[in-house]
Symmetry: C2
C-alpha cells in the first residue's frame, strides 16, 4: 500500500487551474458562496468528478459529492471533504486543497483497483467561509443536522440575497436530503493557516482537536466631554475603558497556563473626534481554547473583569454573544493511523490544535473524524500570498491516500 | 459706575434670536465659517451694530468690528471679542455670548454717555471653531499677525471650498488690513465649557491662563494574523499596542501632580475584522497643560514610553505632530480688575485655566488680555444642550461692563 502514490502532476495542475477560476476584475480570487464565481468553481469540480468516473450527487444545501462505490462495498462511505468557496481576495489552497486531494486520492485508488469494503466519497461543502452568508461552515452544519435545511436556505446575505434563491440560480439546489450518506469516517486535509509547522520544520500536522470559539461584542458607554476642560478625575472615558479591556484580555491570555488565545480585532469610538472624550467604544472579543472547561473559565474571568471595570470607571457595559462553538476532539485511532502513515513515509509529525474552524468540526458530530495539516508559508492565509510548497502538498495527499485506503479496507 | 447695569432683556433676547439664525433642515445650529448660515448670523450682528450707532468695519479675513469712538478718545481701543461661527449642531452660547455681551456693554456705555479716553470696539472673529477650515481661531490669529492673510484666504475646507472665495461670496471680504485697530486691552467673556464653576457653585471664573495643546497622530504597525492559529507569544498586535498607549496616557495623567490632561478621542484598526489580529492601529493624542515646561515634559515622557513599547512588542511606531500651541498667560492687572468688579457685585470668583482654545489666546500676542467665564450647566458644550442660566449670563455681562468702563477711562 505504501508504494501507491497520488498523481502529483494532476493534483498540482488542478489546484492551479482551479485557483484561476472565479477571479474578479481586479484579479482577486473571490469565490464567495453561491455567486457566479462559486458556480464556475463548482462546475469545474463536477467536470473533474465525471472525468474520474465518480457518481455526482448534490444535496439540498448545495453540498457536492463525488462517490466511488463497487458491488462489494457497503453503503457507509469513507468521506473526504472540505470546501471550494473562498473569502474576498483569498488564496488558492484554503479548502480547495482538501477537496482536490480527496478527488485525487479516490481517482488513484480507483485506477489502482483497490479492493474496498466501504465506498469512497469526496465532498465540497457549501459556504464554509461565511463571507456572504452566516453562519460559516453552513453546508457541513446542515449535513450533520445542526441547522435545519429550510432555515439555512432562508439565510439573507450581507448583499441582501437569499441563499436558497442564489443556490437555485447557479444550479446547485440539489435533491438529496443532507445526511443522505451514512458516513463511516471523515478525513479532511488542509493547510495549517498558522506558522507552527513551518517554524518547527515539521511537514505533517496531526490535528487532535479544534478550539472552541467564543465571539462577543462589547459596548461601553461613558460620557462625551471636552478633552481640554474636563479634569481627569471627572471623566467617564469609554475609550480608556476599552483599552483597559484589551490589555486585560491580552495579558491574561499571555499569562495563562492553558492554550487560550484572545484577540480584539475590531473597534470603533463615538464621536471619534480628537478633542472629545469618547462616549462610546464598541469592539469585538475573540476567545479560543481547545478545552471547553477552560474556555468557560476564560469567559467567566472576562465577565468578572468587565463587572469590576464598570464599577471602577463608572461606565455602562453591555455584552452581546455573537457566536459560540464548543471545542472538538478528533478520533484517537484515526490520529494514530495518520502518524503511522507519516512514519512509513519518513515524515515527522506534530499533534496540534486547529485554531481555525473547519467542516470537520461539524461532521465529527455524526462520524469519527480527523484532520491532517500541511505547512502554510509564513502562516499566511485568507490572502493571495497564501502558499504551501509543492512537496508538502504532495506529501499530505499521500498520507491521506494511505489512511483512506486503510479505512476503506477495514 | 457699579450702579450701571446692562439691559438684560436686550442681551438675552438677542442671544435667543441669534440662536435661531443658521439652523439646518434638521433644526441643528450649523453656522460653519463662511457658509450662508454664517452670513445670516453676521448680517444680524451688523444690523444690531448699526442700530446701536456703532461704526462697522470688516477686515480682509472677514473679522467684523463695531466701533464707538468720541472726539475725546485716542486711537487705541479697548476690544471685546469672540466669535459667531459654531460647530455642527452647536449650542447658542459658545462665542455668541461674548460677542453680544460686548455689543451690549458698548451700547450701555454709549447710552449712559460714559466719558471714555479710549474707544470701545466689539469684534466677531472669523472661523474660531475650525470645523470647516483649518486652523481654528483663524481670524484672531491672522489679526495678530500669526498667519498671513493670503495664506489664510487660500485655505481649502473639508468640503473642497476655498475660504477667500466663500468670504467674498457671502459679502464679508472686507478692505481693512488685519491689525488695523491698535488694541489697548482685550476682554473676552465666554461660557466655561467645563463643569468646574457649576460643581463648586461659583458664578465667575477668572481665567488666568490657557492650556498649551499638543495634538499628535500615532500609527502602530504590527502583523495581521489569524486570531485562532497565532499563539500569543508570536503576535505583533497593533491593537494591543494601541491599548497599552491609551492606558499609559490616561494613568500617567491621573497620577500627575500637574494639571495635565490626556485624551485619545479617535481610533481605527486595520483590517478591523473580528478574527484577524490588527496589523495597524491609528489614533490621536490630545495632551494639554497650562505650563509649557510641564507640557514639554509630558510630551517627552510619552515619546519615551512609545520607544520602549515599540521594542517590547516588536511593533513599528510613527508619530505625526498635528498641531501645537503654547500655553498663554493673561494680564495679572486685568485679572485683578475682574475680581474687584465681582467683589463689588457680591459674586464669588475662582482663578482658573481654560482647557479650550479661545480668540483671546491669539490677541494676547498684541495686547494685554483677560477672559471671564460663566457656568456651563453640566459642563456641556458643542452640543444643543449647552446652557447657562440667565442670571449668570447677566452677571458676566455686568462684570465685563465694569472692567471695560474702567479700562476705557484710564
Amino acid at each position: 500500500m505504501t508504494g501507491t502514490r497520488v498523481n502529483e502532476e494532476r493534483l498540482l495542475s488542478r489546484l492551479r487551474a482551479l485557483g484561476q477560476v472565479g477571479r474578479d476584475a481586479q484579479g482577486r480570487l473571490c469565490r464567495l458562496a453561491c455567486t457566479d464565481a462559486d458556480k464556475a468553481g463548482r462546475d469545474q469540480f463536477v467536470r473533474w468528478l465525471r472525468d474520474a468516473g465518480l457518481e455526482v450527487q448534490v444535496d439540498r444545501i448545495g453540498n457536492v459529492f463525488g462517490l466511488w462505490r463497487t458491488h462489494e462495498s457497503t453503503d457507509t462511505p469513507i468521506l473526504i471533504g472540505s470546501h471550494l468557496d473562498t473569502v474576498i481576495n483569498g488564496g488558492i489552497f484554503d479548502g480547495s486543497y482538501g477537496v482536490l486531494a480527496g478527488l485525487e486520492v479516490i481517482e488513484t485508488m480507483k485506477a489502482q483497483g483497490v479492493a474496498i469494503k466501504h465506498p469512497l466519497a469526496v465532498a465540497s461543502f457549501t459556504n464554509e467561509e461565511g463571507t456572504r452568508y452566516s453562519p460559516d461552515m453552513m453546508g457541513s452544519l446542515v449535513y450533520c443536522g445542526g441547522l435545519g435545511v429550510e432555515e439555512a436556505l432562508a439565510s439573507t446575505g450581507n448583499d441582501g440575497t437569499v441563499l436558497g434563491a442564489e443556490l437555485a440560480r447557479i444550479g446547485y439546489a440539489g435533491a438529496a436530503e443532507p445526511g443522505f450518506l451514512k458516513v463511516k469516517a471523515y478525513l479532511e486535509l488542509h493547510i495549517e493557516q498558522g506558522p507552527i509547522l513551518e517554524l518547527e520544520g515539521i511537514p505533517i500536522g496531526v490535528v487532535e482537536n479544534l478550539q472552541g470559539i467564543s465571539w462577543q461584542r462589547v459596548i461601553i458607554e461613558g460620557t462625551a466631554n471636552h478633552a481640554g476642560t474636563t479634569p481627569m478625575s471627572m471623566r467617564r472615558d469609554a475609550g480608556y475603558a476599552a483599552a483597559r479591556v484589551i490589555t486585560f484580555l491580552h495579558d491574561q491570555a499571555c499569562a495563562s497556563t492553558t492554550a487560550t488565545v484572545a484577540t480584539v480585532g475590531s473597534i470603533s469610538f463615538a464621536p471619534n473626534v480628537i478633542n472629545v472624550i469618547p462616549s462610546r467604544a464598541t469592539f469585538t472579543v475573540d476567545l479560543r481554547n481547545p478545552n471547553e472547561r477552560e474556555l468557560k473559565a476564560d469567559e467567566a474571568i472576562f465577565g468578572q473583569f468587565l463587572e469590576r471595570l464598570a464599577v471602577e470607571l463608572g461606565v455602562n457595559l453591555s455584552v452581546e454573544r455573537l457566536s459560540r462553538t464548543e471545542p472538538v476532539t478528533f478520533d484517537p485511532r484515526m490520529l494514530s493511523m495518520i502518524e503511522e502513515a507519516a512514519r512509513r513515509d519518513g515524515l515527522a509529525t506534530k499533534r496540534m490544535t486547529s485554531g481555525a474552524g473547519h467542516d470537520a468540526q461539524m461532521i465529527v458530530r455524526i462520524a469519527p473524524a480527523a484532520m491532517i495539516f500541511v505547512q502554510s508559508t509564513g502562516g499566511i492565509s485568507h490572502n493571495p500570498r497564501e502558499h504551501t510548497p509543492d512537496p508538502d502538498l504532495v506529501a499530505g495527499a499521500n498520507i491521506l491516500l494511505q489512511v483512506a485506503t486503510r479505512l476503506a479496507s477495514e
